[in-house]
């Protein structure tokens, strides 16, 4: 009896296996371009907190810092069998005031000299990346153009990825070049037109450790030459070159039991302006539902000052000097929360981020905290749609 029915199973199995399925493209086994066109839109509102009245020179300039509205459009589309084009277009409008410099206050601490709240600018940024896909890798050429009222930049880049070791290891590398021109709003004593050039290169490796985790590390080198100062600052003179090295390490781990993934990142940055910074980031990607993901995130940042940084502007001394808060020593934390709802051909994203910089958050002791350190809120909504 048993053998007869096992014969039934054999007969059914043979007949089932003999059904010749219509041929299906297995293109995606190789490194392949996307099969659908994807369009996306993001709207972001970036808002810096106001400067405390007590941190600025009384009755000079505005307490209101930058508000930026960013519209980002993206199209990613396959072209032919082996190419894709990924284009992003950003349109930003910004308004607000920025620190022009610092003077010494009555208590010896620096006070900000703020600009009037009249700064209004529009930035347009277009980036196009064309990628050629090969059996075990891809190569891209990148071109970009960016313009503001007083600024124009072109950039070009080449990058590639090569998968080896049964696609468990990916080698990556790239080079880039940009040419930036600044033509500041005319003012007595201000430069009229300056340029800088930046060359970058990076190499990296990503390794699949097991089905749940991947480690990626890369080294980036950048060299800038030309006018690196801020023409709007009252006193600002920086070296005419800057070399930097950044080491990025990213770890991704999927926790099957929790249906969640941890993303942990570390970045070390050093440059020949004597600046060293550390960034540690952690994101928790939690699937609430297979179509809904919630991502709380936290980032810690700390930097040392540039060697020519002066908390208080001094006029008339020789050599490099700057009181830019971005060159001052400080630490910062960023808290983020985002939610992504998706189906096979659409995605909706909502995210919020809060950034707080403070001298006390730095790894070392900050003797004089810059009064212009940033706090900002960034809200983003957007969608992607594929067809």
């Amino acid at each position: 009896m048993k053998t007869e029915k096992s014969r039934t199973l054999n007969a059914l199995t043979s007949a089932a296996l003999a059904i010749p399925a219509a041929a299906v493209s297995t293109n995606a086994i190789a490194d392949a371009p996307p099969t659908m066109t994807e369009v996306g839109y993001r709207y972001s509102q970036y808002q810096e907190d106001d400067i405390a009245e007590s941190d600025k020179v009384e009755d000079v300039g505005s307490t209101q810092r930058y508000d930026i509205n960013i519209h980002q459009f993206r199209v990613l589309t396959p072209v032919g069998d082996n190419y894709s084009v990924d284009a992003t277009f950003d349109y930003e409008t910004m308004s607000g005031a920025s620190p022009l410099g610092t003077i010494q206050g009555a208590d010896g601490d620096p006070l900000l000299v703020m600009s009037g709240a009249s700064i209004d600018d529009t930035r347009i940024d277009l980036n196009v990346k064309t990628t050629r896909y090969y059996e075990n890798g891809n190569a891209s050429i990148i071109g970009g153009y960016s313009t503001e009222d007083d600024y124009e930049a072109f950039n070009l880049g080449l990058e590639g990825e090569k998968h080896i070791n049964d696609k468990l290891t990916t080698l990556m590398g790239g080079i880039g070049y940009s040419d930036d021109t600044i033509e500041p709003t005319p003012a007595p004593g201000r430069v009229t037109e300056e340029e800088k050039y930046t060359a970058t290169t990076f190499v990296g490796i990503a390794q699949v450790i097991n089905a749940e985790s991947v480690l990626q590390t890369s080294i980036n080198y950048a060299y800038s030459d030309g006018y690196l100062s801020d023409p709007y600052k009252l006193v600002d003179q920086r070296p005419d070159s800057r070399s930097s090295i950044a080491w990025n390490t990213r770890y991704r781990h999927y926790l099957g039991s929790l249906d969640a993934a941890v993303h942990a990142d570390y970045r070390l940055y050093v440059d020949d302006w004597d600046m060293v910074s550390h960034t540690v980031g952690i994101e928790w990607h939690q699937n609430i539902d297979p179509n809904l993901r919630v991502i709380p995130s936290f980032r810690y940042y700390s930097q040392s000052q540039a060697d020519f940084y002066k908390p208080i502007d001094v006029v008339g001394i020789e050599g490099d000097k700057s009181s830019d808060y971005r060159l001052s020593p400080f630490g910062a934390v960023t808290f983020g929360l985002s939610a992504v709802a998706h189906s096979y051909n659409w995605k909706i994203i909502v995210s919020a981020e809060r950034y707080i910089a403070d001298g006390d958050l730095a790894l070392g002791t900050v003797e004089t905290e810059h009064p212009g350190l940033l706090q900002y809120t960034l809200l983003t909504v957007g969608f992607d749609y594929a067809f």
Binding site: V24, A211, V214, A261, H285, N287, S343, N345
Partner: protein, 299 residues
Amino acid sequence: MKPLSRFQYRFKAMGGPCSVQLYAESENEAALHAKCAMDEVYRLEAKYSRYRNDSVISEINATSLKGGGMTVDDETAGILNYAATVWHESKGLFDVTSGVLRKVWDFKSGALPSQLSIEAILPLVGWGKLNWNDGLLAFPLAGIELDFGGIVKEYAADRAAAICLQLGIQHGLVELGGDIRVIGPHPDGSPWMVGIRNPRIPEQAIAMVPLQQGGLASSGDYERYMIVNGVRYSHLLNPSTGWPATSLASVTVVADQCLIAGSATTIAMLKGEQGLEWLESLGLPYLAIDQSGVHHGSI
């Protein structure tokens, strides 16, 4: 390259809720691969739907109405060969021509068809009444209708999973209205846990079945039925009598292919009193629940 995350895509096809779950490095990759799997399901649905005039099944049934014969494509030929095999192996119980009985059995009406109306339609039931040879399908008797229900949905689950595998997906699960085909286990090697419906409270799971690979299908008298004078009449109709099979409440079978699992559950349900014995001898893991709620089988 990024680590694998789990993504699920729900969609409607083959007359019911469906989903593709898979692990991929990115949402983009998951979405693209899921779409390929879904496209395959939609392709088969369009090709074998009774409700579409341009489907292969409609073309076959139109030919049957006129009488005569036709040639079919290779995939359809493969399915017809399978239908012939399953008919033969089930001793005529699993019959792709029995769908026509639906015309007299209206489970929404709550009323039993008359024996006369059943007898009037039975002459149109019977795989043995048509000729299937070497890719040529002939209908000596006009009006026989083919219905690949019980085959195409299960086959589509197998195909969708096969496509994901071809595309490089190693971990995932395809579910088409309760018929399941595993692409591969979770990345840590653990099996998918599949809930088996309680045949008397279908929204509740009565058992969880670990499924590492292969397919799983269930069939039960709870899917479409009516109760008349306290007797349950299910949609599982015996092609020789035209009346519903009565014996087991539900059967779940695990097999290498969802198609095999689906055929085995249908045959076991239609076997009536011999269903359990037949399942036992088939040699596949199964869970059968009889009318008194007793569980049988190796799952």
